[in-house]
């Protein structure tokens, strides 16, 4: 019997036992769909976390002054030598590194913000125009600190501050007093709430030079650096440290924090979770496989006389084995493909219901689900197929 005829004959058998086939295909497809949907959820959660991080910026490196390390008690340490500060000069130096896309110096302090009949103490951020893209902030109105306008006294207000100081008139273009200087309101931040430790709705941002003058300091609180791409984080970190070491007379006195370490941990946890869930779902596939075995055993019993006849008209044991084998293979294949489609539809529904959750089943999970379904289905049919092929034709024909 040719392979094509075998496949065709067994497909016809599958179709003719309609209810049985539909049920077994359903069982198989539910197993596959479970794997696809659950891994889509797991991987979606993983990507959700990564997206949250990248909303802060996954390519972000934070440079801070000082260095936390244990050293021996040498004279310098005994003298309590303080680390060199980070300066605007350092920030500009980092901006020239080839791995660095952009940077934003950060100077932080508090000052009194006032207009006639309004007054409050606010957190002041001194930075440059690149702070917005680096921190993925959004402006509600106006413009941010203009590039190359470090000398003009502009101020960007947090959403809540703007609302409190100018509840009735447009804030843009108004003058406002911060400390002893007058600033022109150029933009208002979109409400964002808490992010990285402070509430951006209640801050004001001014050019970094003004901030340094205001706080009477030359040092920076942080330098935020964005690497050109994610793969270069580590080399960027090294380049920053080297540049700062050179600028600080060979002293290794800065620290660079990347988000990668934290992100990698989350990534591992959620990937393990996805795997565990996929494993649990895969059990249902094995159950489906056993179901296939049961159904095929029943089929052998049901079709005993038929097997006897096939032998009488010249089928070899191999032909019979292959017929039962391919029958199970069809059931598994259709179940697996249908399950894949169900799974994709399920994932789509999840994505529609929770748009922020990117519930896409990873390719490996879909392939593994289909593979396991086919494997268990076909493996489970081995026993029935062999049983069928070993039937004695005389007794088989005698059975009604």
């Amino acid at each position: 019997m040719t392979l094509f005829d075998t496949l065709q004959t067994s497909l016809r058998t599958v179709i003719s036992y309609r209810i049985r086939s539909v049920l077994i295909v359903l069982a198989m497809s539910l197993g596959v769909a479970a794997v696809v949907i659950l891994t889509a959820l797991g991987d979606g959660a993983r990507n959700f976390v990564i997206n949250q991080f990248s909303s802060i910026g996954t390519n972000l490196l934070v440079v801070l002054p000082g260095r936390a390390e244990t050293t021996g008690s040498f004279p310098g340490a005994v003298l309590g030598q303080t680390p060199r500060d980070l300066t605007l000069h350092d920030a500009q130096l980092l901006g020239r590194l080839p791995q660095v896309k952009r940077y934003a110096p950060l100077s932080i302090g508090a000052a009194e913000l006032s207009i006639p009949n309004r007054l409050r103490e606010v957190t002041v951020l001194g930075s440059n125009a690149d702070l917005i893209p680096i921190r993925h902030m959004k402006l509600a109105q106006g413009s941010f600190l203009q590039h190359g306008s470090g000398r003009s006294a502009q101020i960007v207000l947090g959403a809540k501050i703007a609302n409190e100081f100018f509840p009735r008139i447009p804030a843009i273009g108004q003058h406002i007093r911060l400390g002893d200087s007058r600033f022109l309101v150029s933009g208002i931040l979109a409400p964002q709430g808490e992010s990285m430790g402070f509430n951006t709705d209640e801050i004001v941002i001014i050019p970094v030079d003004y901030a340094q003058v205001l706080f009477n300091t030359t040092s920076l609180f942080r330098i935020l650096v964005e690497a050109k791409n994610h793969g270069q984080i580590e080399s960027t970190k090294q380049a920053i440290l080297a540049a700062l070491k050179q600028s600080h007379d060979g002293e290794n006195d800065s620290t660079v924090i990347t988000q990668d370490a934290i992100l990698a941990t989350f990534d591992r946890i959620l990937e393990a979770l996805t795997l565990a869930v996929a494993g649990i779902a895969a059990i249902s596939l094995i159950v489906a496989g056993i179901l296939v075995m049961n159904v095929m055993l029943v089929a052998v019993n049901q079709r005993t006389a038929e097997i006897g006849l096939l032998k009488a008209i010249g089928a070899t044991s191999m032909d019979i084995r292959r017929l039962f084998f391919t029958e199970a293979a069809w059931l598994s294949l259709v179940g697996a493909l249908l399950g894949f489609i169900f799974g994709q539809l399920g994932s789509l529904l999840i994505r529609i219901a929770y748009p922020q959750l990117p519930a896409w089943a990873p390719v490996w999970a879909s392939l593994a689900a289909i593979g396991i379904a086919l494997f268990t289905g076909i493996a489970a049919s081995t026993l029935p197929a062999v049983k069928a092929s070993r039937l004695n034709p005389v007794t088989a024909l005698g059975k009604k």
């Binding site: 006897g308 009488a312 008209i313 010249g314 005389v394 024909l397």
Partner: protein, 227 residues
């Protein structure tokens, strides 16, 4: 040409050993019309199964067309069943899921005959057995006589040299049974060996050679001139 030498077949029934065939010696030449008669348990069906290579003897030698077939492998025996032997059963043994045409086509499919040739041969067989109108009907939609005609068409589609019929009219009424017999005898007249097992004396008497069996032995073997 069928040659059985000292064929013995025993069955175990619980503790007892039943001697179904006891050193049978039998020669059947090509084109003969043989009926095997005897009461149930006389071994006539076992003899037919052994001739049809469905059953293996415990002892003895079976030559088919000069070839010792008792020593062949399972695959080789299946090939001989496919090519040289056609079975007709009392209960037809059609596959209920398949149409009449597909049931007839089955031996060709097993033999790996190309589809285009299969279609032609099946069409010819449907014509020869007057089943053209029933080609696409399932066995459940056919009458008993039609079912047996499909079964005979299936048995002959490979143009076997031997047709083995086990009570071919057992499930049919007298008139239809007679029609089926005419069909089988027509095949025999065209040169096919026809061996038929029956316990119907009248039916057995139609054969030119009549073998009677009892307790696993041939008790009489008579050849008559055709009626």
């Amino acid at each position: 040409m069928i040659r059985l030498i000292d064929i013995t077949r025993t069955f175990k029934m619980g503790e007892q050993t039943v001697l179904a065939l006891n050193q049978i010696n039998l020669n059947i030449t090509s084109g003969e019309y043989v009926s095997i008669m005897g009461p149930s348990g006389s071994g006539k069906s076992t003899l037919l199964n052994i001739i049809g290579l469905l059953d293996q003897p415990d002892a003895g030698r079976y030559e088919l067309d000069g070839k010792v077939v008792t020593e062949l492998t399972e695959v080789e025996q299946a090939q001989i069943r496919r090519e040289k032997i056609g079975f007709v059963f009392q209960s037809f043994h059609l596959i209920p899921r398949l149409t009449a045409a597909e049931n007839i086509e089955l031996p060709l499919t097993l033999d790996g005959v190309p589809v285009s040739e299969r279609k032609i041969r099946v069409q010819n067989a449907l014509q020869a057995f007057e089943l053209e109108q029933r080609a696409n009907h399932r066995p459940s939609e056919l009458s008993g006589g039609q079912r047996q005609r499909v079964a005979i068409a299936r048995a002959t589609i490979m143009q076997p040299s031997v047709i083995l019929a086990d009570e071919p009219t057992g499930n049919l009424d007298h008139k239809i049974g007679a029609e089926v017999m005419v069909l089988l005898e027509k095949l025999q007249q065209h040169g096919t060996t026809l061996i038929m097992v029956t316990h119907d004396r009248e039916l057995g008497a139609r054969a030119t050679r009549q073998i009677a069996m009892r307790d696993g032995k041939i008790i009489s073997d008579q050849t008559h001139d055709p009626v």
